[in-house]
Structure formats: C-alpha cells, structure tokens
C-alpha cells in the first residue's frame, strides 16, 4: 500500500466525515440514507485499500506472478456491500411508508407532528 502513501486514508476519512455529517445534519430522511451510504462506502474503500499491494497482480493463479493482492478484504467487502444494499433498501422502504402515512419525510416536520418521535 506504499504506492498510495497515506492519501487513500485522507480521502477515506474525508468521505467518512461527509457521510456522517450528512446523516446528522440533513433533515430529509432520504438524504440521511444517502449520507449513510457515503459513510459505509468510505469504509468499503478502507478495506479495499488494505488489500492493495504495489506491483501485485489479481489474486488468480497465473504464470510468472509471485505477488498477489490480498483477496480477502474484497470478499469481505462484497458481503458488506450486499448488507449495505439491503440496509438502503429497507431504509428507502421505510421512507416510502413514512411518506405515505405522515405525508412528509422531513424530520423536523415529523417532530412537530409528534414530539415523542
């Protein structure tokens, strides 16, 4: 991972903060979900950049290659992506139903409807 220096981490942290900030600051539920996705994706990048080895080939056996990238983080992240998709789907489904039953997906408007939320 020396090829990237620490820049990959800088970018990842930047993305992470953007994501978290969106989750916290936006009042629109869908925007919150988008923020959540950005946040999760930054973590996916984190894992994938872990697996990168400079000068290595893809992790499939082939002639003349001795150094392979680590495939495990990719496998893990594949699973995590699936989880992320599922979470997003559930979140969107909830937003749709919230819109149907409350008529809005703006959090502050939801709060004015019911203070206990």
């Amino acid at each position: 991972m020396s090829g990237l220096g620490v820049w990959n981490y800088v970018i990842i942290i930047f993305l992470m903060m953007i994501g978290l900030y969106m989750v916290m600051s936006s009042s629109n539920l869908v925007k919150k979900l988008i923020g959540l996705n950005v946040f999760q994706t930054s973590v996916f990048f984190l894992y994938i950049s872990f697996g990168y080895i400079e000068g290595a080939t893809g992790p499939v056996m082939q002639e003349g290659a001795s150094l392979y990238s680590n495939p495990l983080p990719h496998v893990l992240i594949l699973t995590a992506i699936v989880v992320g998709v599922a979470t997003t789907a559930v979140g969107l489904a909830l937003s749709v139903r919230i819109k149907e039953s409350f008529g809005t997906i703006e959090e502050d408007e939801l709060h004015t409807m019911d203070s206990s939320l």
Partner: protein, 140 residues
C-alpha cells in the same frame, strides 16, 4: 420512456447480452473473478432496463412477483441444503470435499451449486426490490 425510440432499440439489442454476461459471471465463478452476487445483480439489471423501457406490466408478465418470491426463497434453500448434503455425507457443514468421491470434484460441485443459489436469490431479490418500489409509486 417508451417513446424514446433510440433507447428502446438499444435496450432491446443489449438486454440479451447483459443476461448472457450475467450467466458467464455466474458460472465462471469457480475459476476466476465472478460469482453469484455479481451475476445476480447483472442479471437483474437487464430486467430493470426492460422495466424502465417497456413498463412494469410488461416486466411482471415475464417475471411475476410470486415467482420471484419462490425463486428468492429457493436460492437460499439451495445454499442451505448443499451444506446439509455435505453434512449428511460425513463432512462438516458446507464441506464440499464430501460432495463427490474426489475432493476436487466435490469442491467444484459445491461451489457451483452454492453460487447458483446465491445468484438466484440476488437476482430475484434485486428485481423484487425494484418492482416493489416501482409498483408503489403507481398505486398511490
């Protein structure tokens, strides 16, 4: 988008190849990069394009929701039952070595079956998700 002629033609032209590519990724999974997750999504994306171009009703004629539900469930079942089969044949859960007399052949069989199950579920669930959201909008 049914009035966009170019999109429709290109879409019609592309959809079979997308499906084919999906199948390739699916069944190449035990030799190279690929596998059920990716294949399922690619496969489902063909249907998503179809729906976008020709409407929900047309897509649901090809893949009704109740069939998709069964497919999704059976994909999980295939995965789980392969594991059970390995267990019944004397190995640990999902130990493909025991699926055939030759451990390597067993690994092949096991991976293909499991990835097939995964592919089925992913593809059908992706379609279901899309159809559900798309259908919701029309109803309300």
């Amino acid at each position: 988008m049914s009035d966009h002629l170019i999109l429709r033609i290109v879409g019609k032209f592309l959809i079979p190849y997308i499906l084919l590519f999906g199948l390739y990724v699916q069944f190449h999974g035990d030799f190279g990069p690929g596998g059920g997750f990716q294949a399922g999504v690619i496969f489902a994306s063909a249907f998503v394009i179809h729906t976008l171009l020709f409407g929900l009703e047309s897509a649901e004629r090809i893949a009704p929701q109740w069939i998709l539900k069964i497919v999704a469930a059976s994909g999980v079942l295939i995965y789980a039952l392969v594991g059970v089969a390995a267990m019944l044949m004397g190995g640990n859960y999902l130990d493909y070595d025991f699926l055939a007399a030759d451990p390597i052949a067993g690994q092949h069989i096991g991976i293909i079956l499991v990835e097939f199950g995964v592919g089925l579920t992913v593809a059908s669930v992706m379609m279901l998700l899309f159809f559900t959201f798309a259908g919701r909008g029309e109803a309300s």
